[in-house]
Point group: C2
């Protein structure tokens, strides 16, 4: 794959067949930036043919590219600033020229299809919510993560984007997860489970009970498979598991911590005696393979769904291999038109018996052309003009609950 | 150890030194009842010198005791009914003569110190809340579980007794956990962490943020160590982890499910090739030890805290060994005066700057004699007369949040 070879320049318009837009890579985020990020980017271009544009401090990026003989082969867009790994959500306001903000700007301008960053989750979420804005009709964004189940992965969302949600938001998360699973896993009707503390319908806290009612009510384009429990995260029982960002984040970190602790314990047990150590030598390769598969650095990283653009958040500790996978994933989601699919899927939840929801209208961003041809709910307000680029409108508020 | 040898009879009063009251064992609850339950009880008496009274269908219990030559050596209290493993909370109303209800009755009468059951959690919690009632001043009960951390265990609560809580309830759970940890683990000031989705104070959902404020406010007799995250469940960073019953249950089941999945994967990896199989043979014993230590059936089971009596809930799949451990634990908690300790610890949270809380008074059960000698808040209502035994007053309502 080749780029334009011109740093700090827009990607030139292409002839037919139209090539996909490049994925913007934030080279300044992550514990091992920019070295491992650029290494991963080169791998994604060389091994997987993904089109990229690298965002960050141009001289440093060029120096890293030089190691692989890739100077001029991947376009660079310069960004003065970067979010530090210690910085949280506030930095997105303080640094409008950060590499993540510039990457979002490329997406808004139609010069990039997606963003990959290994920066702090809080910083990436805040900046991209601020710059890309929420997708029309979507109440809140959610982070979807792919769990290392077999034979095919299970998608968990929300893993931490929105800590306080309403039951209606969980139904939307089910729609986001369905759209994501269709692209990532393939099935027409991915099964969706609600994370809860019991299998029966009446179980759970108020939020889970109400969400179960709404999801079980049907006619929203979601293949609802009922409640699932904590031990189903790795059982592969459903394609998508839906929960609020607080519970999802606790569950995900519990799973990761438990995998880590189990491997430490097993390593100790396997090397506790001379005979056991001998045994460990014989199994070395197999266990390393397994360790890799269950390592968050390999399977990890989340996708922020519900914004006007695809954002892939790699682990902060990501090495080249993880960045390369994240670039591939971003490319795949953009090629699968994830934003359009989410719009259709969310519209289906609103044209169902939940049509009384008014979040689409309240947002004032109701989509005038409905892909599914369903009856359009009465528009209360005309669509507002598009916001200027680089504005700093705060995150949208969730509308009050419908009584 | 010997019992009175008389079934269906009260345990006779004892000479000095007063022997501790026996632990009531529900022999009818659990997947392997009554066989494994009675086997575990015999083990607890024979190996650990725990005094017991067996509650359930007397002829069946006697038949099981006969296998070990223990007929007449452990007292039996007959109960006609038993909660089925499929029955939930409603059964506690329908079956006032169930083995769990009778065991609660023994505690209320002062004939037993504690209850051990391997019945369904929902059934045991509902029946014992109904029969034993909430302890004075305690807003909601919580299930505390002991996680298999090293070098010493971490206690997690609530693991599922109360799904919807207020921030003030979480402060009380911290008090319950502190009292429990003092008996189980020993330290004068056990450290308490709040389960959250970030280390900093401002992280989390509304509930967690508010609970952090209250706990960090200090002067409540709790050694608050700040927020902990999902991966701290097995890190051993704190002695006690506090959360609501929904999040706690999801986290616990996620941990159990992940341990199970990790062992399955590792077993597959270890036997995938002839060399690896040879290795596995050499490690067999060590890995079995580890498997046992991380098996919920060994470390598992919860303690329902906050009622007028100690209730140990063993896993439904408990075998004799787990029941024997549960009997030992119940004995230890009763000997450590867990109910009194909780009363003192909860009183300390109310005589702190949170003295404005009114749940003690609203309950109408403010304790007239204060163990800590602190200023008694003004009583709004006189203490009501004690409820008659075997009544069916519904669970107390949590008082409204203090604005």
């Amino acid at each position: 794959m080749t780029g334009t070879g011109e740093p700090s320049r827009a990607v030139a318009p292409r002839r037919v067949p139209p090539r996909p837009l490049p994925v913007a890579v934030d080279t300044m985020g992550g514990d091992h930036a920019p070295g491992e990020i650029v290494a991963g980017a080169v791998d994604a271009v060389r091994e997987h043919g993904v089109r990229l544009v690298l965002v960050g401090q141009a001289p440093r990026i060029r120096r890293e590219l030089d190691r692989y003989g890739y100077v001029g082969k991947i376009p660079i867009v310069h960004a003065d600033e970067a979010l530090d790994m210690g910085e949280g959500a506030l930095a997105s306001w303080r640094k409008p020229r950060s590499s993540i903000a510039i990457a979002c700007h490329l997406i808004k301008q139609g010069r990039a299809s997606a963003l990959v960053s290994a920066g702090t989750t809080a910083g990436v979420v805040a900046t991209s919510r601020l710059r890309l804005k929420g997708q029309q009709g979507v109440m809140r964004p959610a982070i979807a993560v792919t769990l290392p189940t077999r034979p095919r992965p299970t998608i968990l969302l929300d893993a931490g984007a929105t800590a306080d949600v309403k039951a209606e938001t969980l139904v939307q998360f089910a729609a986001l997860g369905t759209a994501y699973a269709q692209i990532l896993l393939g099935p027409d009707r991915p099964t969706v489970g609600l994370l809860n503390i019991g299998a029966e319908a009446g179980k759970g806290n108020k939020l889970a009970k109400r969400a179960h009612e709404l999801l079980a009510g049907g006619n929203h384009g979601i293949e609802f498979a009922g409640n699932v429990e904590g031990h189903d995260l790795l059982s592969g029982r459903v394609d998508v598991i839906v929960t609020d960002g607080f519970t999802g984040n606790v569950a995900l970190k519990t799973m990761e911590g438990t995998i880590g602790a189990a491997f430490t314990e097993i390593r100790d047990a396997m090397t506790a005696s001379p005979a056991a150590r001998m045994g460990a030598l014989l199994q070395r390769r197999r266990l390393q393979d397994l360790r890799d598969r269950l390592d968050p650095d390999t399977y990890g990283g989340g996708v922020l769904l519900g914004l006007n653009g695809t954002v892939v958040i790699a682990h902060g500790a990501s090495r080249a291999r993880a960045i390369s996978s994240a670039c591939e994933l971003a490319h795949r989601l953009a090629a699968g038109r994830i934003v359009e699919r989410i719009r259709e899927q969310v519209a289906a939840t609103r044209t169902s018996r939940f049509g009384r929801w008014t979040h689409g209208e309240r947002d004032g961003r109701e989509n005038p052309e409905r892909a599914d041809g369903a009856a359009k709910p009465p528009a209360e307000t005309p669509p507002p003009p598009r916001e200027p680029a680089g504005d700093t409108v705060p995150d949208r508020k969730e509308p009050p609950a419908v009584p």
